[in-house]
C-alpha cells in the first residue's frame, strides 16, 4: 500500500471521503516523513505540528459528520514562508524578519484555511524570493530530494522539495520570474503561475508587485487545478485583483489536444538550452502532434530582451517594497547613534548579499537622470513583449518551451556567478512581464535521473486551455515516479 505521504491530493481526498484515511493519519504521515527527510532536505523553516494536527482533527470531525467543505478539506499543504500566517513565524528567509509573528492571514492563506486545508508549516525560499536555487536563505539552503547534492531550484525551492519528498501533499509558491515553475521543473512537479491579478497578493511579502503571483506546486495537473481554483478569485483587499470570475482549471482536463494550436517559441527553445532538456522538449512536442495538436513555430524576438528588462523592473520595485524593513516597527533592529544610523545598520546586517545587490540595482535604475534609460526603457520593452505575445495568441492557443534551461545543478555551482543564476529564468520571465499564465509539467528524467520540465504558456485568463494542454502532456509522458530517499527507504 502507498504511504499516505505519497498520495496525490485527489487520491487523498478520495480516501478521506471513503473513510479509508483520516486527515490526522495523512498529517501524521507527512510529519513523520518530514522528521525523516528534513535533516537532509531542509524544506521547512517552521513546522507547525500542533497547529496542523488541530486542523486535521477539525477536518476529521467535519468529514465524519458528512460535512466536508470541499476538495482540500483535511489535506496537508506547505506554505512558502513569504505568506502571512497569523500567529506563525513568517520570515521570507531573511534575518531581518527572524522571529516575526504576523498578526494576520494573507488572503490565500485565509481561503485555504476556510477550505479546510491543513498547514504543515512554512517552507524555505531564497531571501525575499530573490534567487533560483534556495541557496540565498539566511537559514541555510534546501536540497533537491532527487539528488541531495543538487539544488531544488528557487525561489520556491522549499515548497517544491517538501512536495517532492512527501512532507506535504501540495505546496504553495510565489512566482515573480519563474519561482514556481523552475523549482517544479527541477523537482519533478507540476508548478503553475496564474494570470496576474487572478490570485490575491494581499499577505504575500512583496518582491516585485507588478510581477508576483501565488500558485500551486503539486504532483499532478489535476491537483494543481484544484488548488488554483481554491485560491483564485477577486479580493477587495488587492486593488490589482481581477474583478471578474476566475477561469476554471478543472473543466477541460480530460479533453486532450486534438485541434488545438500549439506554438513553439523559437527564441526559448534553442540557444542556451541543455541538450537533454531540448531532446525531452522535442519528444513532447512530437507526442502533442501525434495526439492531434497543430504545431506552429513562432518567433518572439522581444523575449531576447526580457531578462534585461526583468532585472531592471523587479529590482526597482523591490527597492521600494523592501524599504519598510527598517528596524522601526518590527523585525531586526541594530541600534545606532541616530535613527538614520539605526536604519542603515539594521538593513546592512539584516539583508543578505543578493537582496542588497538587487536593492542597489533598483535604486540606481530609478535615480534621477537614469530613470528613462533604465526603468523607462524596461517598461517599453515590457509593453513590446505584451504586444508580441498578444499577437502570437491570435495564431495559437498555447505557447510551449522548456521550463528551465537545464536539470538541477549542484549546490554552490552558480553562487559566485549571479548572471548564470539569472539565466535559469530565461524561459519563465516573459510570462511574468506579460502577466500571462504559465505552468511547468514534468516530462522525463535526465541520464543522471534528474527531472526535466516542459512549460505551457497561455494568454491572459487562458487557464482552462492551459490546464487542458498540461493534462494532455501529463498523459502522454512517462511517469517519472518519486525520488528515492535513503532515509525514507531504510
Amino acid at each position: 500500500m502507498t504511504n499516505p505521504a505519497d498520495l496525490t491530493l485527489v487520491e487523498a481526498a478520495t480516501a478521506l471521503k471513503a473513510g479509508d484515511q483520516t486527515s490526522v493519519a495523512l498529517t501524521e504521515a507527512v510529519l513523520t516523513r518530514a522528521s525523516l527527510t528534513e535533516a537532509a532536505v531542509h524544506a521547512y523553516l517552521t513546522i507547525d505540528r500542533s497547529g496542523a494536527l488541530a486542523a486535521a482533527e477539525a477536518a476529521d470531525r467535519r468529514i465524519s459528520k458528512g460535512r466536508s467543505i470541499g476538495p482540500l478539506d483535511g489535506l496537508p499543504i506547505a506554505l512558502k514562508d513569504n505568506m502571512m500566517t497569523r500567529g506563525v513565524e513568517t520570515t521570507a528567509s531573511s534575518k531581518i524578519l527572524a522571529g516575526y509573528i504576523p498578526p494576520y492571514d494573507g488572503t490565500v492563506v485565509a481561503r485555504l484555511r476556510e477550505a479546510g486545508a491543513v498547514f504543515v508549516g512554512k517552507t524555505n525560499l531564497d531571501e525575499f524570493a530573490m534567487g533560483s536555487s534556495t541557496e540565498n536563505s539566511a537559514f541555510g539552503p534546501t536540497r533537491n530530494p532527487w539528488n541531495l547534492d543538487t539544488v531544488p531550484g528557487g525561489s520556491s525551492g522549499g515548497s517544491a522539495a517538501a512536495v517532492a519528498a512527501g512532507s506535504a501533499l501540495a505546496g504553495l509558491g510565489s512566482d515573480t520570474g519563474g519561482s514556481i515553475r523552475q523549482p517544479a521543473a527541477l523537482c519533478g512537479l507540476v508548478g503553475m503561475k496564474p494570470t496576474y491579478g487572478l490570485v490575491s497578493r494581499y499577505g504575500l511579502i512583496a518582491f516585485a508587485s507588478s510581477l508576483d503571483q501565488i500558485g500551486p506546486l503539486t504532483h499532478t495537473v489535476e491537483d494543481a487545478a484544484i488548488v488554483y481554483e481554491a485560491i483564485a478569485g477577486h479580493d477587495p483587499l488587492d486593488a490589482t485583483s481581477f474583478p471578474g470570475p476566475a477561469p476554471s482549471g478543472t473543466e477541460r482536463l480530460g479533453e486532450g489536444v486534438s485541434g488545438l494550436r500549439v506554438g513553439i517559441v523559437n527564441e526559448l527553445s534553442g540557444e542556451g538550452i541543455d541538450d537533454e532538456v531540448l531532446a525531452a522538449f522535442r519528444t513532447t512536442v512530437q507526442r502533442l502532434a501525434s495526439a492531434g495538436a497543430e504545431i506552429v513555430e513562432l518567433s518572439l524576438p522581444s523575449t531576447a530582451t526580457a531578462l534585461s528588462a526583468y532585472y531592471l523592473i523587479a529590482p526597482a520595485e523591490c527597492s521600494a517594497n523592501l524599504a519598510r524593513f527598517d528596524g522601526v516597527r518590527y523585525g531586526l533592529r541594530v541600534d545606532g547613534g541616530t535613527v538614520d544610523e539605526m536604519m542603515s545598520r539594521t538593513r546592512a546586517d539584516g539583508f543578505g548579499p543578493e537582496v542588497i545587490r538587487r536593492i542597489l540595482l533598483g535604486t540606481y535604475a530609478l535615480s534621477a537622470g537614469y530613470y528613462d534609460a533604465f526603468y523607462g526603457q524596461a517598461q517599453r520593452v515590457r509593453t513590446l513583449i505584451i504586444q508580441e505575445f498578444a499577437r502570437a495568441y491570435e495564431q495559437v492557443d498555447v505557447l510551449v518551451s522548456p521550463t528551465a534551461p537545464a536539470p538541477a545543478f549542484e549546490l554552490g555551482a552558480k553562487t559566485q556567478d549571479p548572471l548564470s543564476m539569472y539565466m535559469q529564468d530565461i524561459c519563465t520571465i516573459p510570462s511574468n512581464l506579460s502577466g500571462h499564465p504559465a505552468m511547468s509539467v514534468p516530462v522525463g528524467l535526465s541520464a543522471t535521473g534528474l527531472p526535466i520540465g516542459f512549460q505551457v504558456m497561455a494568454p491572459a485568463l487562458g487557464e482552462t486551455v492551459m490546464f487542458q494542454v498540461a493534462a494532455a502532456i501529463e498523459n502522454l509522458s512517462d511517469d517519472i515516479g518519486r525520488p528515492v530517499l535513503e532515509v525514507v527507504a531504510s
Partner: protein
C-alpha cells in the same frame, strides 16, 4: 521697487473622510496613539493599499472649485524617502498625472483682484507623527522618539499654485481664499492650528521688469495666515539684502521661527532631492469618468466668491460680504437674520463687527452662541425705532450673546430702553431748569457752553436713558 517677489504656495489639506486613504482605519485625531492602525497603514509585510473612493470624489470637488481640469485617468506614484514616521519608507503620491490640473482662483488685496493659477491638486497619504522626547523636544537632542501612526495614511490633497503671487499680502490672501473654499466644500475642517491645512511658500526675487526666475527658497512651518505673511515678507527682505550686497541665494528649505520672526536654514537631508518616483504597481490608475465628474460637480455648494457677490447685490459692502461669505457660521446667521427681517447692511455690520469680535474674545464659535437671526432682526428694529442708543445696543447684544435672553427682554431687564416719551423728557428738562435757575439765566444770556451741563443733568435724572439730541432740542426750545 528694485526687486520683484515671485511666490508660489503649496498647500496640504487633510481630508476628513471617515476612513484613511488606503485602508479602513478611522480618521480620528483625538484617539489614543496607535489605535487607528492596521497592517496597511503600519506598513506591515504583505499589506496592500486599496484607494478610498470618497477621497477621490473630494479631491475632484476641490479641483472643480479651483476651476481645474480633471484627469480622466491619473496615476499614483511612489515617492521614496526614509523617515521613521513613514511606515513604508515611501509615500503613495502622484507625479506626472495628478487628478486635478490647470485651474485658478481670484484673490483680492486692497480692492484689487488678481487671478492666481493653480498648477495642480494631487492625492497622497499623510505620514505618522513623531514626538521627540528629550530636553528640548527637538530631534537633534532627543533621547527617544515616540511614533503615533493614527495619522499615517490619512488622505492628503496637495494644491500647488503657479508662481503668480507677487507680495506677502497676496500670499496671505491666496491662502485665506483657498482655506475658505476648502471649508465651504466640507471636505476638511481646514484648521491651521491643528495642522489639517498646512501652507509652504516658495519665495524668490528678481529685478523688477525682468522675466527670469531667481533661485527659490522653500519656507515651512507657518501656523497662521499672519505668520505666512510675516515669513514671506522676511524672506523677501532677506534675499534682497543678500543680492544687494552682491551675494547669491542658496536653493534650500528654511524654517520660519515665529518667536524670533526669522527663517532658519534647515539641515538638509542628504539625497532627499531625488525621490525616485515610479508608478505605484499596487494601484490601478484613478479613473474619473465624465459622468462621475458631472455628478460631483452637481454637488458643489455655492462657493464663497459667488456668495459674496450675491450679498453685495443686497447692498452689503464688499469687505463685509467677503467676511460673511467666508464663514459658514456667519453665513448661516446672516441668512436667518435676513429671513427674520433684518436689513442686510445692518445685520452685516453687527455680525462682522461686534459678534465676530465677541466670538474671538470669548473663544466661542458663533454657531455655538445663544444668538439667533431673530435676535439680530429684533435688535436692528429697536435701534431703528430709537429705543436703544448705539452704546446701549452693543451692551444688549453682549447680554444676548451671553445667553440672557432676547434683546427686548434683556434691554428691559437692564433698564437700557431709551425714553422716547416727549412729555416725560420735557418734565425732566423743566425739573432741571427749576433746580438751576442761575445757570439757566446765563445760558439764556448767551453762555452757550452751559448746554452741556444741562444735558448732563437731564441724563443723570433719567438714568442715562434719554436721547441727548432730543434733550438738547427741548432745552433750546425753553430758551426761546
Amino acid at each position: 521697487m528694485k526687486w520683484e517677489p515671485v511666490i508660489g504656495i503649496e498647500v496640504h489639506v487633510e481630508l476628513e473622510t471617515q476612513s484613511k486613504m488606503f485602508c479602513g482605519c478611522a480618521v480620528d485625531f483625538e484617539a489614543e496613539p496607535n489605535t487607528n492602525v492596521c497592517p496597511t497603514c503600519l506598513g506591515l509585510p504583505g499589506a496592500l493599499p486599496v484607494p478610498n473612493r470618497k477621497a477621490i470624489e473630494w479631491i475632484t470637488k476641490i479641483g472643480l472649485a479651483f476651476n481645474c481640469s480633471i484627469s480622466e485617468r491619473s496615476q499614483f506614484h511612489r515617492k521614496n524617502y526614509f523617515y521613521s514616521d513613514q511606515p513604508k519608507n515611501y509615500q503613495i503620491s502622484q507625479f506626472d498625472v495628478p487628478v486635478c490640473h490647470d485651474g485658478w482662483i481670484d484673490v483680492t488685496v486692497d480692492g484689487e483682484t488678481s487671478r492666481i493659477r493653480v498648477n495642480r491638486a494631487h492625492m497622497e497619504e499623510d505620514t505618522g507623527k513623531s514626538i521627540h522626547v528629550g530636553e528640548s523636544g527637538r530631534i537633534h537632542s532627543a533621547t527617544e522618539t515616540l511614533l503615533n501612526f493614527n495619522r499615517a495614511g490619512v488622505p492628503l490633497v496637495e494644491i500647488v499654485s503657479e508662481a503668480d503671487i507677487r507680495s506677502a499680502a497676496q500670499a496671505r490672501a491666496y491662502a485665506q481664499t483657498l482655506r475658505t473654499v476648502v471649508a465651504a466644500l466640507g471636505v476638511s475642517d481646514a484648521k491651521l492650528e491643528e495642522g489639517s491645512i498646512r501652507f509652504d511658500a516658495n519665495v524668490s526675487i528678481r529685478p523688477t521688469g525682468t522675466e527670469a526666475f531667481g533661485t527659490k527658497v522653500e519656507v515651512k512651518n507657518m501656523n497662521s495666515f499672519r505668520s505666512l505673511e510675516r515669513a514671506v515678507d522676511f524672506e523677501i527682505l532677506r534675499q534682497a539684502d543678500i543680492l544687494d550686497q552682491g551675494g547669491t541665494i542658496d536653493q534650500e528649505t528654511r524654517h520660519w521661527d515665529e518667536g524670533e520672526g526669522v527663517t532658519h536654514s534647515m539641515r538638509s537631508k542628504e539625497g532627499s532631492s531625488d525621490y525616485r518616483y515610479f508608478p505605484e504597481p499596487d494601484l490601478l490608475p484613478i479613473e474619473v469618468t465624465d459622468e462621475w465628474r458631472n455628478e460631483i460637480a452637481a454637488t458643489l455648494p455655492e462657493l464663497p466668491a459667488a456668495r459674496a457677490a450675491r450679498y453685495m447685490g443686497l447692498g452689503v459692502d464688499a469687505d463685509s460680504a467677503t467676511s460673511l461669505a467666508g464663514s459658514d457660521a456667519l453665513t448661516a446667521m446672516f441668512q436667518s437674520s435676513l429671513a427674520a427681517g433684518a436689513p442686510a447692511q445692518v445685520a452685516a455690520n453687527w455680525l462682522t463687527g461686534e459678534v465676530t469680535a465677541w466670538s474671538r474674545r470669548a473663544a466661542i464659535d458663533i454657531a455655538d452662541s445663544a444668538l439667533t437671526g431673530a435676535h439680530v432682526a429684533q435688535l436692528a428694529g429697536m435701534v431703528a425705532a430709537n429705543l436703544l442708543s448705539s452704546t446701549a445696543a452693543k451692551e444688549v447684544l453682549g447680554y444676548v450673546l451671553a445667553g440672557e435672553g432676547d434683546p427686548e427682554t434683556v434691554a428691559a431687564a437692564h433698564d437700557l430702553v431709551q425714553i422716547n416719551d416727549s412729555g416725560a423728557l420735557e418734565s425732566a428738562v423743566d425739573q432741571v431748569i427749576g433746580e438751576n435757575e442761575d445757570q439757566f439765566a446765563r445760558l439764556a444770556g448767551g453762555e452757550d457752553k452751559l448746554i452741556g451741563f444741562f444735558v448732563g443733568q437731564v441724563m443723570r435724572v433719567t438714568g442715562g436713558k434719554a436721547d441727548p439730541r432730543a434733550v438738547t432740542d427741548i432745552i433750546r426750545s425753553r430758551i426761546g
